[in-house]
């Protein structure tokens, strides 16, 4: 509710701009997720290769990845909560939640990075695995850095909680993107 009130405070032009940004980020997400889908297609086609996984033991177990997935999920939930909190004009609580989400995101990256390092190489499986997880980590890290900037700006009181905070909404939406992209990969890499 509070959020709507803040938005109501916007001028017509600002509302139009906000609408545009929302549509823009949505289309960007719908488009860019397809790069992940493309890598899934690659994964699928490479499964027909004679060198896909000559030794079935090469496939990584699901334990670490599942823990990482749960952590990323928790992080995204906290971000969601943080957005609600900031719309209720509670900046300090927002900052606390936001920071925890970023740290959880960091743990996720470390865990998947560990998988990237230990996967036995020399097969098409490992190669596709590394490209997929590496591609995802690049996104998680860059968007994580953006979340960090939002945090720093929040600390510096650059934001006025009485304004509608697009920077926060955008950060959250990009972080959901990281989660959704990962869920696709997680299912394909570890379960199918």
């Amino acid at each position: 509710m509070q959020r709507d009130l803040l938005e109501l405070g916007l001028t017509r032009q600002e509302q139009q701009a906000l609408q545009n940004k929302r549509a823009g980020i949505f289309i960007f997400q719908a488009s860019w997720i397809l790069t992940f889908v493309c890598l899934i297609v690659v994964n699928w086609q490479m499964r027909f290769s004679p060198n896909w996984m000559p030794d079935p033991n090469d496939r990584l177990g699901v334990v670490i990845a599942t823990i990482a997935t749960a952590i990323l999920g928790a992080s995204a939930l906290l971000v969601r909560h943080a957005v609600k909190v900031v719309n209720n004009q509670n900046l300090s609580e927002f900052l606390r939640l936001w920071l925890i989400s970023i740290l959880l995101g960091g743990i996720f990256v470390v865990l998947i990075g560990y998988e990237w390092v230990i996967v036995p190489t020399g097969t098409q499986y490992a190669q596709v695995f590394r490209v997929m997880t590496g591609f995802h980590i690049v996104h998680a890290v860059s968007i994580g850095i953006y979340l960090g900037l939002v945090y720093v700006n929040g600390r510096k009181r650059v934001y006025n909680v009485n304004d509608y905070l697009w920077a926060v909404e955008a950060g959250a939406k990009l972080w959901y993107f990281v989660l959704v992209a990962w869920l696709l990969f997680y299912v394909v890499i570890y379960w199918i």
Partner: protein, 574 residues
């Protein structure tokens, strides 16, 4: 007689043209960016056209003589194709879109002006990367860049090529997001989806293809770069990689991309044919929706480029989809024929190029259907027949549309008319030069002359002489346009707001339009193509009263230079 009245605000004199230096700087004005796109694309067109001339020169004789080696020939057609597609046709249409879409929607600018500039400025470095390839051994695997040619058999320029295409892809995704949001969110009150000009529809459909297809190109290019620099073996068959992976992903992008390259041309054509036949467009909804149908069905036909490499069982389904996609295209063709049928056709340069498009594109469509049938394609694949096909659709189609668009909108961009006599000379040279360059390629193709090879069987030489000399005429014709543009910018007849008496909104403001395009809120006419009705005449008169008299190509009478005297503000009862 009932006269419709339109509320009109203050009078408006044409804006001064921006200073030349504005075009060489970062600017977030969509009109500047539009011109930046168009001029830059044209420069690349000239460069890539020069390469085409060298290709034809080499092919005047069956032996390899002009080039030092087959490799330098490979480089030529690779950069020719890549630049024509990615740095000419695509950005040229983006330029038209940038300039025209906000105007046609009565908006002040695009939804994201900064992003718009950013997308543009990704292109010059990308073009430079392509050319920089010459210093490290340029790409030579064709614009399709098939591995293993593009992986183990190409010099470092191939990596630069891939990086360059990456940038261009990113640029077009960002541009497309901007178009979609602008079109969806910024239409003026009174303009529903089905009152939009068809060029706007076409750009919308194109943008949807861009955002859905280009990510696959990005994926494929990433793997290609990794194979080249990071030691992966995705496309290396000896290490269990698969070259068909590239073909699949590349064509999954690139077939839709051929529609990226022609749908905006369809849009331009719809504008030209309706305005210059003074008739409503025939089957507006069908033309609008068939763009969307093409956009979607376009994603199901990619493997028709792989008939000779695909598993045989998969050929038939792709043959069927390739035939299906001709249906929405055919609908458009009939819509356009219905539009000009019985119209008061003005045979000016813009319209001539429009009609030229129509006649040539149909030939390209038919040869496409021939190639789409498996038994024919098995023989024709990689011959000059294919070269003929795609030049009929891309030059006869897209480039003719661009030319038509230039003659049509130049008055809006610059406030001056292009010279008609030079325009007609340009058209005649282009049309016949084009036809005798590319039509005979059907013959040599059917007879078996392969594409992308510098040497050929001497029996084809006569045909190649005809093709070569026609190509030189075609190349020369471009400079007639360039000359016309330079002369007309300074000496052309003053155009006024609406020399074609067109109903779409970009004409309901001065030429060139002022900063933020419109003074006050523009009022769209209820039907962008409702020519020939009393209401439309009243609308056009109201607009003429507001913006002053425009040049009338049918009754030429010079207007005073720079500022046309604005008519007095109409009072109630006018």
């Amino acid at each position: 007689m009932a006269t419709a009245t339109y509320p009109i605000g203050g009078l408006q004199t044409p804006a001064k043209r921006p200073a030349l230096s504005e075009y060489f700087r970062w600017s977030i004005d969509h009109k500047i960016i539009g011109v930046q796109y168009m001029v830059m694309a044209f420069v690349f067109f000239i460069i890539a056209g020069g390469m085409a001339m060298l290709i034809r020169w080499e092919l005047l004789t069956p032996a390899i003589d002009l080039m030092a080696s087959g490799s330098s020939y490979n480089t030529l057609f690779t950069l020719h194709g890549t630049m024509m597609i990615f740095t000419w046709i695509v950005p040229m249409f983006a330029g038209f879109g940038n300039y025209l879409i906000p105007l046609m929607l009565g908006a002040k600018d695009m939804a994201f002006p900064w992003l718009n500039a950013f997308a543009f400025w990704l292109i010059p470095p990308a073009g430079l990367l392509l050319i920089a390839g010459y210093f490290v051994g340029p790409a030579e695997a064709g614009w399709t860049s098939y591995p293993p040619l593009s992986t183990i058999y190409s010099p470092d320029g191939q990596t630069l090529w891939a990086l360059s295409i990456h940038l261009l892809g990113l640029s077009s995704i960002l541009g497309a997001i901007n178009f979609i949001v602008t079109i969806k969110n910024m239409r003026p009150p009174g303009m529903g989806w089905f009152q939009m000009p068809l060029f706007v529809w076409a750009t919308f459909a194109t943008s949807i293809i861009v955002v859905l297809a280009t990510p696959f190109l990005a994926g494929a290019l990433t793997l290609l770069i990794l194979d080249r620099v990071a030691g992966t073996t995705f496309f290396n068959a000896t290490a269990g990689g698969d070259v068909l992976l590239w073909q699949n992903v590349f064509w999954f992008y690139s077939h839709p991309a051929v529609y990226i390259m022609v749908l905006p041309g369809f849009g331009i054509l719809s504008e030209l044919l309706s305005v210059h036949s003074r008739k409503p467009i025939f089957g507006y909804r069908m033309i609008a929706l068939s763009s969307m149908a093409i956009a979607l069905v376009g994603f199901t036909v990619w493997a028709h480029h792989m008939f000779t490499s695909l598993q045989p069982e998969l050929r038939i389904p792709f043959m069927i989809t390739s035939f299906i996609i001709a249906v929405p295209t055919g609908i458009k063709i009939f819509g356009w024929l219905g539009t000009i049928f019985g119209g008061k056709i003005r045979l000016n340069s813009a319209m001539l190029f429009g009609l030229g498009f129509l006649s040539l594109f149909v030939i390209g469509g038919i040869s496409g259907m021939m190639l789409g049938s498996v038994p024919v394609d098995i023989h024709m694949h990689d011959t000059y027949f294919v070269v003929s096909h795609f030049h009929f659709v891309l030059f006869g189609g897209s480039v003719f549309a661009i030319y038509g668009g230039i003659y049509h909108w130049f008055p809006k961009f610059t406030g001056r008319m292009l010279n008609e006599r030079l325009g007609k000379i340009h058209f005649a040279l282009t049309y016949f030069g084009f036809f005798f360059t590319f039509f005979p390629m059907h013959m040599v193709g059917i007879a078996g002359m392969p594409r992308r090879v510098a040497e050929y069987d001497p029996q084809f030489q006569n045909w190649n002489l005809l093709i070569g000399f026609s190509a030189f005429v075609l190349g020369f014709s471009t400079f007639v346009l360039v000359y016309n543009v330079f002369v007309s910018i300074y000496r052309g007849k003053v155009a006024g707001a609406n020399p074609w008496r067109a109903l779409t909104l970009e004409w309901q403001t001065s030429s060139p339009p002022p900063a933020y395009n419109f003074v006050g809120d523009p009022i769209p006419f209820e039907d962008p193509y409702g020519y020939g009705t009393d209401a439309s005449k009243a609308y056009l008169e109201a607009m003429e009263a507001r913006f002053g008299e425009s040049f009338n190509p049918e009754k030429p009478k010079a207007l005073p230079p720079t500022t046309p005297t604005p008519a007095p503000e109409p009072s109630a009862g006018d």
